[in-house]
């Protein structure tokens, strides 16, 4: 059981800035995120898109914003638990006990949910029969590519993941690549490579087709794909890989006894506390009268939630407001030499 003053769920811009605020006022914190990297929606959905409404920054991309926020945290030693999803939040006396899907356990008086629209999960095939083969022969990510050696692998998707894996697996496997249209959105050199491999018979390319049905009793045996003109083809395959990007699911947050309306959590505007004492929600996931889903609002909400955390983490101390420009204590924490 790891003890901390505050646990932040979500490593997007709001979570990162909230961590900075906590450290400035002398609290420690841990950040948990289901993605394998820091940055949340900024890094997952629009790393290259310019953002124009971050205060005092004329223009920056999602990736630049993330890197700047990471750099801001450099003076502090903050532990990140990436690729972990918080599954359980339970009250134990005055603390919250938090468990992740990887078995990490935390005890903290303060949980700050900075979870955006929830956790990112792979988008799955719409065909219901896929469920029984999921994680066995129907996969949405590759953990061990050696299992495909000498097998037939059918890959669906038109982005870089689909193209890269089609190219890689074509070395040792029989690969079908299926996409709903002729154009691919992956890198041009990968698209060219796929077309070349297709010409040489190393990849069987089917465009304007989508998955229609999967067949097999205990083991996946074959699939049917259907074209826009309702032409159906049957393909034998051992594995299916689906790369349709990520979707955001509220997930376990819905189970923690919070006031949830339309995937957002109701908070007050003084502490950004939910209906549960010591659980706060900041950024896109929170709602209150006048809420704007802007990154700058997340920063403000995180700053106030951090002050509220102080009361529960240091019940016997009095919080004193200080400016970073003048406070010696804060400068010490930042490691700034006078």
């Amino acid at each position: 059981m790891i003890k901390t003053d505050a646990l932040i769920i979500g490593a997007g811009p709001t979570g990162l800035f909230t961590a900075h605020q906590l450290k400035l006022i002398g609290l420690d914190c841990i950040i948990v995120d289901n993605l394998d990297k820091i940055g949340g929606q900024c890094i997952e959905l629009y790393p290259d898109k310019p953002i124009y409404d971050i205060p005092a920054i004329p223009e920056c991309t999602g990736e630049e914003l993330t890197n700047n926020l990471i750099n801001k945290l450099k003076p502090f030693n903050i532990k990140f638990h990436l690729s972990e999803r918080v599954d359980e939040v339970k009250k134990n006396n005055s603390n919250w006990e938090v468990k992740t899907n990887k078995g990490s356990k935390f005890s903290t008086p303060n949980v700050i949910i900075a979870g955006g629209v929830g956790s990112f999960e792979p988008r799955k095939f719409p065909v219901k029969e896929c469920e029984k083969f999921e994680n066995k022969s129907i996969l949405y990510s590759v953990k061990d590519k050696t299992i495909f050696k000498g097998k037939t692998v059918t890959i669906f998707g038109g982005g870089d993941s689909a193209l890269d894996w089609a190219i890689e697996l074509s070395k040792n496997s029989n690969v079908n690549l299926i996409h709903r249209r002729d154009e691919f959105r992956g890198a041009q050199h990968s698209v060219d490579k796929v077309h070349e491999l297709s010409k040489n018979g190393k990849i069987n390319l089917f465009t304007k087709f989508q998955l229609k049905m999967v067949n097999g009793k205990d083991k996946l045996e074959s699939i049917e794909i259907e074209s826009e003109d309702k032409e159906i083809k049957k393909l034998e395959t051992n594995y299916i890989l689906g790369f349709f990007g990520l979707i955001m699911q509220l997930g376990p947050i819905a189970e923690w006894g919070l006031n949830i309306d339309k995937k957002t959590v109701a908070v007050d505007t003084e502490k950004f506390e939910t209906n549960q004492k010591g659980i706060y929600a900041v950024g896109d996931i929170c709602t209150y009268p006048g809420k704007l889903k802007l990154i700058l609002s997340g920063f403000h909400e995180g700053a106030l939630a951090a002050r509220a955390c102080f009361k529960l983490a240091r019940p016997n101390e009095k919080y004193r407001f200080e400016f970073t420009t003048s406070s010696k204590t804060i400068k010490n924490r930042l490691g700034v030499k006078e």
């Binding site: 929606q41 959905l45 629209v117 719409p126 996409h179 154009e183 959105r185 826009e228 896109d284």
Partner: protein, 106 residues
């Protein structure tokens, strides 16, 4: 104001007035039409405001940008007449537009 008709997957119709300049997605969200999630809030980053547009209307709409077609790759059961409703801007010309909602968004 232009009237837009949203048809749920179960056939239930909702005809509402949507102000010019709003997107078809915003019209749905502001009027609590079930079946449009719009997780990303209209930044063309999530494909959860996916709709099907009847052919005659589909051809009248301004063409898709590349980014929209890319996102539709991720949508639930995309078809030839798929659009992201956040990218369809309501105007007088769209008065009477009908969109069909997919079975689900994710």
């Amino acid at each position: 104001m232009p009237k837009i008709t949203y048809i749920e997957h179960n056939g239930k119709n909702h005809t509402i007035e949507v102000a010019n300049g709003l997107s078809v997605m915003e019209g749905a969200v502001q009027n609590n039409i079930p079946g449009i999630d719009a997780d990303c809030g209209g930044s063309m980053a999530c494909a959860t405001c996916h709709v099907y547009v009847k052919e005659d209307w589909f051809n009248k709409l301004p063409k898709k940008e590349d980014g929209e077609e890319d996102m539709l790759d991720m949508a639930f059961e995309p078809k030839k007449n798929s659009r992201l409703s956040c990218q369809i801007m309501v105007s007088d010309e769209l008065d009477g537009l009908e969109v069909n909602l997919p079975e689900k968004q994710v």
